[in-house]
Symmetry: C2
Subunit: 236 residues, 2 copies
DNA sequence: CAGTATCCTCGAGGATACTG
DNA sequence: CAGTATCCTCGAGGATACTG
């Protein structure tokens, strides 16, 4: 981003962070995403050239270093990049409270929400064996996903991996997003019929503890509560 | 800013705040700036049309309302806008630590730094009478400012208002910026000869308590200390 | 997979003049 | 002062093809 011509900490921060997509790239990297193609998959709509340009710029600004790992080139956050966690948290918290209405249908990408869910597992509550959770996302086209959770690895399959299934979620994408974002409790979603949940015997009690949901969930809940109160006040 | 197509609190926050100049406009309004022309003066380089467009957008997003006061149209932050204070503070703190090198000479606008200083006074430490502080900013062209501090008003004059002067600061713009940003203590600036400070008798002891300096000063100091340690390590 | 190179379009915003 | 209207330029970035 072109500079503001001001010797001011906020202006300097905004210069580094203000380019389109930059903050979302940082969000992904704070979640542990390290590879170019993985960034592309988590950022639908970004083009290769923009992603490459942003990663170069982030290296020049000292937030990211490019290295190698087993799977090829890997981008890692520096100390400066890691210290953006409070910034991302502050903007996301504000966004959840004040810029978060109902989703546009085009924003409800089932692939994406299943990926998001799969990286916010509460590992400490999961059994020490392999667990498979199936998601059936209804809509104009039904999408199926199998979350294969191994003690030290998680993968998402779009075909039955054949290990058997511990639990099946069946809902539309909108409902799944609201559950992930913490606005809708599993039990409430089931009661209202928006979610069908089938579990293997013995799993039902633990299932709800396996998922950590979004780190913005508390702010999303507050924002939703505030909007509900306001709507009721305007009606009454 | 065009949307990201993601139903994510961070993406939604970034959509509202990510346009060029938007965060700096918010910074000014958090400092109490309410009028169009005042925003223009605090944001050198912004054009009328961009400022007008941003203010319209901020109203549409619900961060700002347009009203009237004694001096004409006035823009005020809503509750949503006021809650951006932690966001501005987080980005500025990060910027001070990780994106704040030496200033480009073009960034050292004497008008601006005197305005900044004048709105971070420690009112509780100022006497209950009118106080006048003169700033003489040296450089290719010498600029003079008189800060006229009344118990309930502060104004900046570029001609001697004729009230007499309680203290005179004389330094170049670079030094004045570093003092404002908290990197350079008044006493240290004097000792090193970068600042000449003349006071009326009886004022010298209090003078240093009159100024609150930048709210990012602690982060700027930490950032400068970190860079100094790093530079020394690289030398040794 | 992990990008680069090239071409092309469109929209952001600067400059300038004008208005209530 | 507090903006709006108009014109014009330039750069961001999308599409596509290509490379190690």
């Amino acid at each position: 981003m072109r500079g503001y011509g001001q010797y001011c900490p906020l202006a300097k921060g905004a210069e580094v962070l203000g380019d389109r997509w930059t903050l979302l790239i940082i969000r992904e990297m704070l979640h542990g995403v390290r590879h170019f193609s993985e960034l592309e998959r988590f950022l639908p709509g970004i083009s290769k050239s923009v992603l490459a340009q942003r990663l170069r710029q982030l290296q020049r600004s000292g937030l990211v270093v490019r290295g190698k790992d087993e799977q090829g080139p890997a981008y890692l956050l520096t100390e400066a990049g890691l210290e953006l966690r409070p910034v991302v948290q502050a903007i996301g918290t504000w966004g959840a409270r004040w810029a978060f209405g109902d989703p546009d249908p085009a924003e409800l990408d089932p692939d994406l929400v299943v990926r998001w869910i799969s990286r916010h597992l509460a590992r400490e509550n999961l059994p020490a064996r392999r667990v498979v959770v199936q998601f059936v996302v209804t809509g104009s086209a039904i999408r199926r996903y199998w979350l294969v959770i191994e003690p030290d690895d998680v993968s998402i399959c779009v075909h039955d991996p054949g290990f058997g299934v511990d639990a099946v979620f069946r809902s539309d994408a909108n409902t799944l997003y609201h559950i992930y974002l913490g606005e809708l409790a599993l039990s409430e979603a089931q009661r209202s019929g928006r979610l069908e949940l089938d579990c293997m015997p013995g799993v039902a009690r633990q299932l709800s503890t396996w998922f950590a949901w979004s780190s913005f969930a508390p702010a999303v809940r507050e924002g939703a509560a505030r909007r509900a109160i306001k709507a009721r006040a305007e009606q009454g």
